[in-house]
């Protein structure tokens, strides 16, 4: 019998705001424990939550970017449960009237090779709601200590429909969400810093069966690759169990990335009764068209749209776009230059995707701190196109420009890279090369085209690399008749 997996993801994404979701207390990562706290964050007696408008803007933006409906009205509910990382022992969340309804995430699966665009599809979302993050428990030999710095960071929960079927789709789903959030400036989605967290619900059923199989909730998925690996392992495990005729019991498992396997956490979901009820401390939120319009106007062109446009408008190869587009800064850099010289877009794209990225990474420089402006890069491309310098020399000029921030012309001038000879001189060097190298000449004349390269090399040497190889080749052929 053939089996298929059905996967749903619950993705938590922190919203990057200056202050916390329900108080003016500063929000951040990497501070000394319990320094980003105030009476609200610590749940002191008498403290009250007050909604942070920036967090609302953030989730509305996320919702619009992920094609959700933003209803006119949403409200806040308390989810009651005891846990030491929760200051009030209830979480303020949205139970039945979330701020974002429905929606979908466009994903791209891996293509056959890196040069080929993979297939795209839409993964349906159930909802996105806003809630407060909790603190962090640190366990030691004798004690456990709680750090409330993370508590009350604005947190979105993006809930997908059970609409995925493989680890690869889940990987693509998270990658797409991450890129969209980064593009919109909503979150940096750094999973190591806990800015994005994912749990997966996985079930397996015989192909053709309508009902879902028993659901396994998979936790401890600490990276996007971890999500993929964990899901793939779990699908394999469940399928084998079913093939052996065993039944799957609904439970929570955890992914052990070091061992590369999943293990049982809780046999049966503790019958948690969260006793949701509307939070009497917070007013419901009304969202009007003006608000939606304002946020919509702040959403930039989204990654897949940009990629399609780069391919169509600038005729970039897919492989270059798949390097540029995931990085909004890099894309903007490319386009700043390409917009001024659309015909040179491919050359610009190549420089950005190869040379610029390499230099940035070798010098550990952020694009924002890069000395080489997009306008300067364009000057380099144009110097090459005019035939002032060769592509070979341009490689070195690029590095020089990257290090100093000079224009291409300035580097060419300063280093004396401009040809200091005329076409007649080149012709003379060609003749000299022919005279001095009878062997390759003979080979060429007897039909070995490749022998010409030896002569070309000689001429380039004489010109100290400055001669245009195409011109030299033409001249050599002409002289050799």
């Amino acid at each position: 019998m053939e089996y298929e997996a059905v996967i749903g993801l619950e993705v938590h994404v922190q919203i990057k705001t200056g202050s916390k979701i329900f108080s003016g207390c500063r929000s951040g990562f990497g501070f000394d424990p319990n320094t980003l706290v105030d009476p609200v964050v610590l749940g002191l007696p008498g403290s009250l939550p007050v909604m942070n408008k920036a967090a609302l803007d953030g989730i509305i933006k996320a919702g619009l970017a992920l094609n959700c409906e933003i209803p006119d009205y949403c409200k806040w509910d308390r989810k009651n449960y005891f846990y030491p990382d929760s200051p009030n022992n209830y979480q303020i969340t949205q139970y039945d009237q979330p701020i974002c309804d429905g929606g979908y995430v466009e994903i791209e699966l891996e293509g056959e090779t890196r040069a080929v665009m993979g297939s795209h599809r839409k993964v349906k979302l159930t909802r996105i709601h806003l809630e407060n993050d909790v603190g962090k428990l640190n366990h030691f030999a004798e004690d456990s200590l709680v750090d409330y710095n993370r508590a009350f960071t604005p947190l979105m929960e993006i809930v997908s429909e059970p609409d995925m079927h493989s680890g690869a789709e889940a990987f693509a789903f998270l990658t797409a969400i991450r890129q969209t959030m980064i593009y919109c400036g909503i979150s940096d989605c750094d999973m190591e810093k806990g800015q994005m967290r994912a749990d997966a619900n996985i079930s397996v059923r015989p192909v053709g069966q309508k009902e879902l199989g028993a659901k396994i909730e998979l936790k401890n998925l600490n990276s996007i690759t971890g999500v993929k690996n964990g899901i793939e392992y779990e699908i394999k495990r469940q399928t084998q169990e079913l093939k052996k005729g065993r039944t799957i019991v609904q439970a929570t498992w955890r992914w052990d990335a070091d061992q590369g396997r999943t293990e049982l956490m809780r046999e049966k979901e503790d019958a948690h009764d969260y006793r949701y009820f509307p939070d009497p401390d917070l007013m419901p939120v009304r969202i009007d068209d003006e608000w939606r319009k304002r946020i919509r106007s702040e959403i930039p062109e989204l990654p897949f749209d940009k990629q399609r446009r780069f391919i169509e408008e600038y005729e970039l190869p897919y492989s270059i776009t798949s390097v540029l587009v995931p990085d909004r800064g890099l894309s903007d850099y490319f386009e700043e230059a390409a917009r001024k010289a659309p015909k040179s877009a491919q050359a610009i794209g190549n420089y950005v995707a190869n040379d610029l990225l390499r230099e940035l990474s070798e010098s550990s420089t952020a694009l924002a701190d890069c000395k080489m402006s997009a306008a300067n890069l364009l000057s380099l491309v144009q110097v090459v196109e005019k035939g002032v310098i060769t592509k070979q020399i341009a490689k070195d000029v690029f590095i020089e420009m990257f290090n100093t921030g000079e224009t291409a012309e300035e580097v060419v001038e300063r280093k004396g890279l401009k040809p200091d000879f005329d076409d007649d001189q080149v012709k003379t060097w060609c003749q000299e090369a022919i005279d001095e190298n009878p062997r390759p000449v003979e080979d060429y004349r007897s039909g070995n085209e490749k022998a010409l390269n030896a002569l070309l090399g000689q001429v380039m040497k004489k010109s100290r690399g400055k001669a245009n190889p195409q011109v030299v080749q033409g001249l050599l052929k002409e002289l050799l008749g």
């Binding site: 610590l42 007696p45 008498g46 939550p49 709680v146 006793r275 009820f277 009497p280």
Partner: protein, 490 residues
């Protein structure tokens, strides 16, 4: 009758301070001495800090000396119910679970009082977490009614009422979730006002039931209560449920509204049940007085009154079960010495079992039950619907009348222990007050006489944000009677 400084009204004291005939230090010392003299019998305070009060008083005197008085409350000692956060002061809510907690911040109403120059005086006893009607549920001590120390002072703001009644504070702050300002005010023969929900910020008020709680003033006169209300009212960015609406000049309004012929409603459901209570005599005399000055009375109906007590105890306990979850033995509350270190749930269980009293436990259990899945619709949701109907009852009658007049409580203060074995009968002592909390409207209790030798109050209920009308109506009665000058023998 007493000429003592500590029994003068805030208004008189303010005038003396203003004229330079009295210093705040003298006044504060008088209140402190009075407190020391009677406190071992009244037991109104959980704690007080004499030096702190006197140093605040010295600062007030210095301000006045420089011509920088902050207004009518500058230099006046205000007692604070131990449910409001005052920076660097204990905040116990009369609970063992907060026995060692010192607040690192000020409630907004406390900030406002500081800006009015008031002397913050002591931490006043209450029913634990404001749950009760007699202050017998306090985890710290049992407060006596200054009129008869064997009787309860009412609750939950029993300490706030007793202190003002006994001259241990000039005015005080209380909180009212179902009658917790008005009922003890009635029992102790003072004035108490529950403002409209949203009039006063709740930031810094340890929550019992968030949608019902309101901080309010208590004092010996309507003028004093109005001055205190003026200081603490207004919108607060730290409380989303505080209302953005202009605060009138209450002291001025009392004068402006003097002599107005009010139309006053008498809710028949209240009077049907009150007819055989001890309060009815003095209340009927008050009605006769108002008629004599030209006010018009109408019988009105609040048909959903019979559901108020049940509705209240579902909504209040549901919210309380969640609000009190933060007292867990993890951060700042009492932690049990012995617990199973391998089981984090055991810290909660042991600490809360030791830290909370019986009434708090009863209400947390009740609230947890009514929110449980499978019961939510039958209890909490239904209670919310009933609450809407109760609020509409009031909206409807306020089309026809300016205010409602009722007894504040079914009778005068009862003997200590009279209802402790029967929580339900205790819950009924708030039968006339808790509807105002469900509807969010303001309510005022003003002394109107005695029953069995103990004070009895009349309650005036008003339109949302029309506290000034209640104060003006109450002031008419107060001005024509001498109850404000009658004090218990201690």
């Amino acid at each position: 009758m007493s000429d003592a400084l500590y029994y003068k009204s805030a208004r008189e004291l303010g005038e003396l301070l203003e004229k330079g005939e009295l210093s705040s230090v003298e006044l504060t010392r008088s209140v402190v001495e009075r407190t020391k003299a009677v406190e071992d019998r009244v037991k109104a305070f959980n704690s007080f800090d004499e030096d702190d009060a006197l140093s605040q008083a010295a600062e007030s005197d210095a301000r006045r000396g420089n011509g920088e008085s902050l207004g009518p409350l500058d230099g006046i000692p205000v007692g604070i119910k131990d449910v409001l956060a005052v920076k660097d002061q204990p905040l116990t809510c009369s609970s063992k679970i907060l026995a060692d907690f010192i607040s690192p911040y000020d409630a907004t109403c406390i900030q406002n009082l500081k800006q009015s120059g008031a002397i913050l005086w002591g931490r006043l006893n209450m029913d634990e977490f404001a749950m009760g009607s007699s202050t017998e549920n306090s985890g710290t001590k049992v407060t006596g009614n200054p009129w008869n120390l064997e009787c309860i002072p009412g609750g939950s703001s029993g300490g706030s009422a007793a202190a003002v009644s006994a001259g241990e504070a000039v005015v005080s702050l209380g909180s009212d979730t179902g009658g917790s300002i008005r009922q003890p005010a009635s029992h102790c023969g003072i004035v108490g006002l529950k403002p409209t929900y949203g009039r006063v910020s709740r930031y810094g008020l340890a929550a019992f039931a968030s949608s019902l709680d309101q901080v309010g003033p208590m004092g010996r006169t309507t003028w004093d209560v109005a001055a205190l209300l003026q200081s603490i009212s207004g919108h607060d960015v730290h409380d989303s449920t505080s209302y953005k609406i202009e605060v009138p000049d209450y002291l001025d309004s009392i004068e402006q509204l003097k002599g107005k012929k009010w139309t006053i409603g008498l809710p028949k459901e209240y009077f049907e049940s009150a007819s055989d209570t001890a309060s009815i005599g003095p209340v009927n005399e008050a009605i006769a007085f108002y008629k004599s000055i030209g006010c018009e009375f109408q019988e009105v109906s609040l048909p959903h009154t019979e559901y108020a007590v049940a509705t209240y105890y579902i909504v209040a306990t549901a919210e309380a079960s969640s609000n009190l979850a933060r007292y867990d033995g993890i951060r700042y509350t009492h932690r049990a010495e012995k617990f199973d270190a391998k089981d984090s749930v055991d810290i909660y269980c042991q600490s809360r079992a030791e830290g909370f009293g019986n009434e708090v436990k009863r209400r947390v259990l009740l609230g947890t039950y009514v929110l449980s899945s499978g019961y939510y619709d039958a209890y909490y949701l239904k209670a919310q619907k009933a609450r809407t109907l109760i609020r509409r009852d009031f909206e409807a009658v306020f089309q026809d009348v300016d205010a409602l007049l009722t007894p504040t409580a079914p009778g005068p203060a009862f003997k200590r222990g009279a209802h402790t074995g029967d929580p339900l009968s205790m819950y009924l002592s708030d039968i006339y007050t808790l509807s105002a909390n469900l509807a969010g409207i303001p309510g005022l209790s003003v002394p109107c006489g005695y029953a069995d030798g103990l004070p009895v109050g009349l309650q005036l209920l008003g339109k949302p944000f029309k506290e000034e009308e209640l104060l003006a109506i109450g002031n008419e009665f107060e001005s024509a009677h001498s109850f404000k000058d009658e004090h218990p023998e201690l």
